[in-house]
Amino acid sequence: MSILQDANREQISRRRKIDWILHILFIAATAVGILALMALLVNIMMDGLSRLSPDLFTNYPSRMASKAGLKSAIVGSIYMVLIMTPISFILGVGAAIYLEEYANKNWLTRLIQLNISTLAGVPSIVYGILGLTIFVRGMHLERSLLSGALTMTLLVLPIIIVSAQEALRAVPRQRRDASFALGATRWQTVSGSVLPSAMPGIMTGVILALSRAIGETAPLVMIGALTFVAFLPNGIMDSFTVMPIQIFNWISRPQEAFHELAAAGIILLLGLLLIMNFAAILLRNKYSKNL
């Protein structure tokens, strides 16, 4: 008998059947997520595409749906991101560098680590309460753009720290050794050898964290970003609104026309998120090629 003729064909066909059934199940699991997303997109497109016009960008909010636009909300969102990006980058990456490169690995750093990971999962409204207490009331920053940006910074900090730590940890130890063995100090090693290797990963984490902040509503509702702002913020102490808040406001109105406006706003927001995620991927690919 040939060694390739197995007497136990029945057992093999049973194993193949299990394999096939699971294959189908996994496809189904993937399809559920994709179909839900498609349904959402189609639904929003049908509602909102007709309202997607230049007016949306140039008009301020209005009582009349035909005149209402997102101008102040778009500008508010952009300003907020511009303020929070440098702050959250410096604080987040600084903390990650401390924890990964400087801190001794003892019970204290493990405790800090555990807390940061937990903070990354805290509901965003809790950060709103924190921002209200510290920035709006405690530091008397009022309901300003600065209060909003600082609150959002708190929200994204744990995410940035954790992703930056992962990026730093992924840098091989040999690169640090090579630098130290040449007589580098710790900072020289971090800045000259570790950060250049880790930067694409760090940037990706920062962009993804910022794109989360752009879509957040709850914390800003909590600190009192306004829903009807018919002017552009004049400075960081001015009151403001952002895109998701404007959308939230429109959706809660009874008129159908506002619902369509909200859908158009959601399309814009989704487009913005898509662009940011795409930028994160581009960045990662561009730099990983150089390594």
């Binding site: 690169r175 050794d177 063995a181 040449l182 007589g183 390594l291």
Partner: protein
């Protein structure tokens, strides 16, 4: 030959593990000293105490002294950065930075404050010539160091170590990741470099120690078993354990 490194009663502990036991050794200048012994015998650990790379490992405790030209490198008057500038190191795996060939060599001099382009150019060329890599890479200095082969990368790492003008070069199994031809090139390079540098190499390969080194130290379980001229250690070892090891009865 003048003694450059004088190790006296050195004991090293990783936590409770006693990795080096009462090691006393003198290492002569401008010669090649090889550390041999089976895995875990402490040879790499001792090498890494010579430029204090063991400082990085939490829980390391050192008793005893390592003097280089009369100064204890573990005393307060020695800056670890200065020590590592003077005592260069080449690692087991070639570990170039993800930078250009030029920037890999210039990394060290830049750390120590050399900014002038002209000076850096000189150092890069000189270091690459010393590691016999110049002719192969002189037209590609801006290319990534990762475009080089493993053997070339290791010679680049040697050039990088030489670029900060050390007196001592530590080589931690520097050829164990390389093919035989690249290994041979590095062994030849070591022969050339010993006119100017004191070289201490850890090797897993007894034949390499026999080919390349002037003195050989045989370690076992954290202790120095035998230390003598290479020829003598291999042809006429005084300790039975050395003989058993070099004849391949264990290890």
């Amino acid at each position: 030959m003048n003694t450059l490194i004088d190790i006296k009663k050195l004991n090293l502990y990783y936590g409770t593990y006693h990795a080096l036991k009462d090691v006393s050794l003198t290492i002569p200048e401008k010669a090649v000293t090889a550390f041999i012994g089976p895995s875990g015998c402490g040879k790499s650990t001792l090498l890494r105490t010579l430029n204090r790379m063991n400082d990085m490992i939490a829980g390391t405790k050192i008793v005893g002294s390592v003097e280089i030209t009369g100064t204890d490198i573990y005393s307060n008057e020695v800056d670890v950065e200065t020590l590592r500038k003077k005592v260069g190191m080449v690692f087991q795996q070639p570990n170039p930075f993800p930078k250009s060939i030029y920037d890999n060599i210039a990394y060290g001099p830049r750390l120590h404050g050399i900014r002038s382009k002209q000076k850096l150019d000189e150092i890069v060329e000189q270091s690459l010539r010393q590691s016999v890599l110049w002719d192969e890479v002189k037209d590609y200095l801006k290319r990534s160091a990762f475009s080089l082969s493993g053997g070339q990368q290791q010679r680049l790492c040697i050039a990088r170590a030489l670029a900060v003008n050390p007196d001592i070069l530590l080589m931690d199994e520097a050829t164990s990741a390389l093919d035989p031809i690249s290994t041979l090139k590095i062994e030849e390079l070591v022969q050339e470099l010993k006119d100017r540098y004191t070289i201490v190499m850890v090797t897993h390969n007894m034949h390499q120690a026999a080919r390349v080194s002037d003195q050989t130290v045989f370690f076992l379980n954290g202790e120095v078993v035998e230390f003598s001229q290479t020829e003598q250690l291999f042809s006429n070892p005084t300790d039975q354990r050395t003989e058993d090891y070099i004849t391949g009865r264990f290890g």
